[in-house]
Symmetry: C2
Subunit: 312 residues, 2 copies
């Protein structure tokens, strides 16, 4: 079954890895959020693309939940000794990606081309597409004014209160080559919205003109996996953001956020009662073990999502 999955960083990448293990490479396309991208120390950093790349290539640091396995921090120590900006951790291995990406972009390659080159070099077959080759930058609104995403997320450790979001550049952005074709493929069997942060991982993707319409126009069922389990986010600031936005911290609220876009919704087994309520309101729901600790968990959830889509 041909599948397109929309994803952000860590949580999304885990399900993407599961899908990669279940589907032949040609049947899986990932559309990855680039709203987190930023320029730091002159380097173009694409955190979500890198998380997906490290995860799919088997290079991720599973224990830590971010970054690369075997990472070292010599660069950061030396940078600190020179008085350089050190709030964003750049590992020695990770740095190679940023330096080489920046070099290729400066040489005229698009972000899509660079991404394709990297995945090919690392031997990953699935098609991984940035949502856009044009800059879209997620801005976090707070009572003290707007914050660039990484300043909010890393430098300020998600501490500022969130009042809203905007996606600078989105109005002018075009979907990256291949994105609309993947969504418009008549053989597409499902569109998966990974258990990523709806506000800052999935919404930036939806903000690229044409993308939401292409999802709506597809005959393939759209299945989201809730990133909220038992009223808490598995990882990251999703639940905190919901609270600050005055939205209930529930899987239901996530489903409501995606609204009419969804054909099906997968909640964690612990949220079975919510699933029943949602089903009663007309949204096809299912429950699964959605907290992915092992590779086996990822593969099983991926299979479950695809089976659910096949029945939708």
């Amino acid at each position: 079954m041909k599948c397109v999955a929309l994803c952000g960083g860590v949580g999304g990448a885990k399900l993407a890895l599961g899908l990669m293990h279940v589907l032949p490479p040609d049947d899986l396309s990932l559309i990855v959020n680039t709203g987190d991208d930023f320029t730091h120390l002159g380097l173009h950093i694409s955190p979500d693309l890198d998380t997906v790349m490290y995860t799919l290539a088997g290079l991720a640091n599973e224990q830590q939940g971010w970054g690369r396995a075997g990472e070292t921090w010599q660069f950061m120590g030396a940078l600190r000794a020179l008085g350089g900006e050190d709030w964003f951790q750049l590992g020695d291995l990770d740095l190679a990606v940023h330096v080489e990406r920046t070099r290729r972009l400066a040489a005229g390659e698009t972000l899509s081309q660079v991404t394709r080159g990297f995945f090919a070099a690392l031997g990953v077959g699935a098609r991984v597409l940035p949502m856009s080759d044009d800059p879209v930058r997620t801005i976090i609104h707070t009572p003290d004014g707007p914050l660039a995403f990484q300043h909010y997320f890393v430098r300020d450790r998600c501490e500022p209160e969130v009042t809203g979001f905007s996606f600078a550049g989105s109005a002018q952005a075009k979907p990256a080559p291949g994105v609309l074709a993947a969504l418009g493929d008549p053989d597409l069997g499902c569109i998966v919205i990974c258990p990523s942060n709806p506000f800052v991982s999935i919404d930036p993707i939806m903000a690229v003109p044409g993308l939401r319409a292409a999802i709506q126009a597809s005959r393939a069922p759209v299945i989201a996996v809730s990133p909220i389990v038992g009223g808490r986010a598995i990882k990251g600031p999703t639940a905190k953001m919901m609270r600050e936005l005055g939205v209930p911290q529930t899987a239901q609220a996530v489903a409501a956020h995606y609204g009419g876009l969804l054909d099906g919704f997968i909640l964690d087994a612990t949220d079975a009662a919510l699933a029943a309520d949602l089903s009663a309101s007309g949204l096809a729901c299912a429950t699964a073990q959605s907290v992915m600790r092992s590779l086996q968990d990822r593969v099983e959830l991926a299979r479950y999502v695809l089976d659910f889509a096949a029945k939708a």
Copy 2:
């Protein structure tokens, strides 16, 4: 005694370190070759400034003769895995200097300002000045055409035959702030030409308009230390270049290269016979243990040079 030393990379930095140990910080200014500078992977790399910085800050890899002590190569491995250009070795520690320098230059600082900031952060008191804040690039002429310096030196391992040199940009370059003031200081006690490669370390400095004239105009004696010992270069391609240029591979030929600029010349003790010949021809010469293996060697040679200058 106030001293200005002109130097390139490894050999020059060794004597510079000796001078730093002998002189109070305010009495020592180094004018460093930037003709080796180049842009690689989008990073501004200043190999000679870095060698001087690592040497003076006690960060140099003494065994290896280049780079930093405790260096690691994680970045290079990861870069190679992505298909990146890997002919120029960039250590994880070293990289911090290139990334931060590039960032500061892009933010509008001059190379002098960046250099001053780095040395201050590392606690090195001596005044270290790039020869110019403007780009001057050493070009190696070969029978197969011109080569950028690092392509000749690193990528092609000094293998191409050298037919000449040029210093692109030198006609438009201005001496960096402080260079002419240091050379024009009425209290200056000596100008030292370190045992660096005359063709590609010292000549680029001399090619900056106004610099040679300032050296000639100074009342301070100009003392060179021969980089050729017993007909061989202590390090690097100096002797090979002399052979290819049809110049005798001798300390005498080095003295002749600097010509009327010199007030004194220091040869290695093993070249005592040559020293006698040169003295007979009217150039004040002295011999010393000029192969600097230990810090003690560096300090002793520095003292010897300053004593010789005091008597000149």
